[in-house]
Structure formats: C-alpha cells, structure tokens
Symmetry: C2
C-alpha cells in the first residue's frame, strides 16, 4: 500500500528557526529532496516578510525551481494577497489554509472565523480561475493553545465548508501537537468518509510526543497522505527545544517497517538532517538521522 | 479504564548515564515518585557492580526504602546470584528477565537461549520458595540489534515457556525500540489472550520514535500495564542523544487525554525531570516536562 509524504521542512521546518537558510541552499535541498523520492514539496509560504523573514525569498525560490515532471511544488497562502503573489511566479499548486480556532484566527490572521471563511472562498475562486490546484487546509483541527480542544463537530462543519468550495485536496493540521490518537482515529475516519474521492492529508506535530501515535491512528482511519519535515524540524515557537513536525525519515522508516511504500530513500533524507544538525549546531528532534549511519546499530 | 505504569527511571533510566546518582538522591526520588502516584517502581538491578556501576548500591537502596503500603518496590534480576542478593534485602517483587534473542543472550548474559531458560526456571523456583512475587520478562521481543526482527512465533513460544513456570506477571520488552505498532498490536493481542488472568506488561523504548505509537497499539491489544521512565531517560548505550524509555509524564498525559486513569500527578513527575535535566546539564528526550510549566503554553 502506498503512502505519500509532503515535505514541509523548507517551510514549516525553517520558519521558526533563528537562522535563515540562503535561497541557494533551499533550492539545493529541494532538488535533493526530489532525488530522495519526495513527490510533494512545500517550497515556501507567501506571508509578509516582516512577519516571517525566513520566507522572504518565496518568489526567488519559486523562480529558481528546477521543476521535475510529476513533482508537486506547492506554496502556502493564508490570504488573497498570498495567492496573487504565488500567481506571479507560476506555482501550480497552493495550500490555502485557515484555522479551526476563532481565537487563533483572530490572533494569527486578524480575522474572525466568518471573515476567514469568506477570505478562503475568495482564495479558492482565484486559484480555480487560474487553474491552480488547491489544497484546502484546516489549522488547529485537534487543539489550540488559546481555546484548548476544538470540538470535532465544529471541525466536521469546517470540513464540509471546505468541501463545498472547489478544492482538490483536503488537509487537516494538528498544528499544536495537542491531538491524541484516539481522537485522531475517530475524527479522521469520518473525514475520510466525507471526503470521498478527494485526497485527505494530515499534518502532524510531535510537540507532545504523540505525533507518531497519531500517524498510526490516522493510518487506521484510512489516511494515506501526511506532511513531514526532515529532522523533525518545525518546533513550537514558544519552546526552543520542543519537537516539531513528525520527521520525514522517522515516518518513512516506520511506514516501511509496516509494509507501506513511500518511494523515499531514507539515507538521502538523513544526509540533509545531518547537515542541518551541523548548521544549527544542535540536535534535531528526529531520531533516525542519529541512528542511521551508526555502525554499531543495525537498522532493520 | 485504569492503566498502571511501572517507573523504570531509577533502573533503566540511570544505568546508561555517565553520572551516578547518589543513594540518598535515588531514595528521595523513590519517595517522590510514590507521592506522585506511581504504584510500581523498579528500584534497582542486581547485576555485577563492575558491569553497571550505577547500580552498585542496589542493596543499600533496598535497605533504605521507606516502604509504603500497597506500593510494589521491585528489583531486576538476570541470574540466580541476583535473586540471592535480592532475597537478603527483603524485596518482595522481582523481575526475572531473559532475552528472546540468542545472540543478545550470549553477548549480554553469556548464556545460550537454552541455558538462559534453564536459569530462568531456577530463578523462578527460588522466588516461589521464598514467596517473592515474580514478573517474568522477555527482552528484545520485537527486535535485536544483532539478529534484527525476532520471529513472533518464537516470542510466542517463549511466552508459553514463561507461563509454564510459576510466574505472577508477564512482561515483554521492546528493549531496542525496533518494534512497530502494527507488529505490537498483532503480537500483544495474542499474548494478552494466552496470558489469561495474568497481568501483561509492556516495556517500550522510543529509540526510533515509535514508542508512543507502540503504546497506542498495545492499548488496542488490551495491554494495561506499561514501563516508563521520568524524562524519557534510558537511552540506547550506543547513541548518547537517542531517546530512551517512553517518558512517564508524556505517557500519563496521552493516557489522561484518552480518558484512562493512572492516579499519577504529572506536575510532580515533571519536577523530577526538570531536576534531572539540570543535574545532567542537557535536554532529556521527554517532551512534556519542557512544556508543562511554560506559562505561554496551555496544556489541555
């Protein structure tokens, strides 16, 4: 059985780091990730460079892409302005994302949920008009640091709202890592059923050490698309040492052990994580990059 | 539904550390773990002090215990000599453990599997004769760094052998963290069925970031007893930075979120992990101790 991973290391992974990776290095990593077998890569986010300086080169990245046939190079957009910027650099896949939490939406996007929904509709329409494939995303689907747990019934309402727009794929994000595997299995089973033929993607964080349990639970629920980041980059902005996205190499290793096919070469991801470890000068949250090349450890 | 955790931080957690915690500090932690709600604590292992100097004070620990009614203070024994030492210091619960891997058994215990089984029988007999409650353990049940994956049929044979002896509880250990949740759910379902009324305990390591997924899978299989270590101590002896046992506070948090009762006060475990972090001078693998007291993070 096949599972498709979308690499988020160059967007979610980098956006909270104290150091800003050069455009050249990001482009090199994008090529190496494709060579490692990743079929989907989120290459940038079109947010205001004052707010997220690590993503200030979004246009330069998109213009510098050495595009390969069959690979999805995607950008994250949170408002209409973002879509307009992405249109000018010829991305053909965009992740349009709003939050399930009203408070998070107001603090992060300065929009009430109603305003965010209205903006989402406009974003999708603009993408549709320009033949851009749309991944519709719901942030904080399993919890918000301001509001706590988000009611599953509310998330299902948002799922239905998303599916009523003309999106191509649906993504739910446990942005805070607050989800637990029991809730993930229950909610994602319903989401997969409602979504029908549309791909359902799950974005998981390992902030509370439940990321991989949530991955397993979502597999039970029938989810076959996941976001990951090399080295487990993408930590919580409040806590420097906290785990980030589930690590691409750790996820791949677990999936391969359980008989799933990903097409990903773990060793090539490990090389990138080792370089990032050296660049940042500290240990990353991923485990497998530390074990993979150790001659005393046999990985099976 | 109730889940019982056995704290392994003072044995598995300490035995690979470069620093040796004082007997006084260990005894203080044991009392604090009981005050935090732990009902089972492995307080020491009776191995040769030359091999594991961190456990050289096993007798002193047992003699210094401030025993509380209803709490299980247990010791790990790997041979008859260990049982004899434990008898002299009046422990009433012992974990007698052998490996499922022939190579690991030969390298670690200098016994073939046949010799280890014979020694196990003698250990259990000596415990029975002295009215000591026995936890029979199988190490490397999901993989061995020398032999790779261990055949489930072989592990089930060992489970039956263990149950044929007069043990009170059965424990399986994923000593290397190589297990994956699919295999854990499948094998543990069978083990729980075979074990009947006898408690089945699972000892998990997060070395490859699958520890908490394996915990969730084992809950599916009906396992209700787990070993954990505060802060996630107990790293792989080959890799300094690798994750160790699943962290007591992270496990408790995940269980509570899913509606299980543990009787454990997470904040009190977090305090111990924070102290160990300072004592060791580096980050521990657990996530929750880093988040718990952070005023910017709401834990729900």
């Amino acid at each position: 059985m096949k599972v498709i991973l979308e690499e988020q290391g160059l967007r979610d992974g980098l956006q909270t780091l104290p150091k800003t990776l050069s455009t050249k290095k990001k482009l090199e990593y994008i090529d190496r990730l494709v060579a490692a077998g990743l079929q989907r890569i989120q290459v940038a986010s079109f947010v205001h460079p004052r707010l997220v300086p690590q993503m200030a080169d979004a246009e330069a990245i998109c213009q510098g892409l050495n595009k390969k046939e069959g690979i999805i190079y995607s950008g994250l957009v949170l408002n209409l302005k973002g879509v307009e910027r992405a249109l000018e650099v010829n991305l053909d896949h965009l992740a349009c994302s709003i939050s399930a939490s009203n408070t998070h939406s107001q603090k992060n996007a300065r929009k009430t949920l109603a305003e965010a929904k209205s903006a989402f509709r406009e974003m999708v329409e603009l993408c549709n008009k320009n033949n851009i494939r749309v991944r519709g995303g719901i942030q904080c689907a399993f919890g918000c640091r301001y509001e706590g747990k988000i009611a599953p019934s509310h998330v299902l309402d948002m799922v239905k709202f998303h599916l009523d727009q003309n999106i191509d794929e649906l993504a739910l994000a446990d942005s805070t890592g607050m989800g637990n595997p029991q809730d993930v299995r229950e909610l994602m089973s319903k989401v997969v059923e409602i979504a029908g033929d549309k791909p359902v993607i799950l974005h998981l964080h390992n902030t509370e050490n439940k990321g991989f349990a949530n991955l397993f639970a979502a597999l039970d629920a029938g989810v076959r698309y996941f976001d990951t980041a090399f080295g487990g980059l993408g930590g919580c902005p409040f806590i420097k040492s906290a785990s980030g996205n589930i690590a691409t190499e750790d996820t791949t290793h677990m999936l391969h052990q359980m008989g799933y096919h990903t097409g990903i070469n773990i060793g090539k991801i490990v090389d990138i994580s080792l370089e990032m470890h050296d660049y940042l000068g500290h240990q990353l949250p991923g485990q497998m990059y530390q074990l993979w090349n150790n001659s005393e450890i046999e990985i099976i």
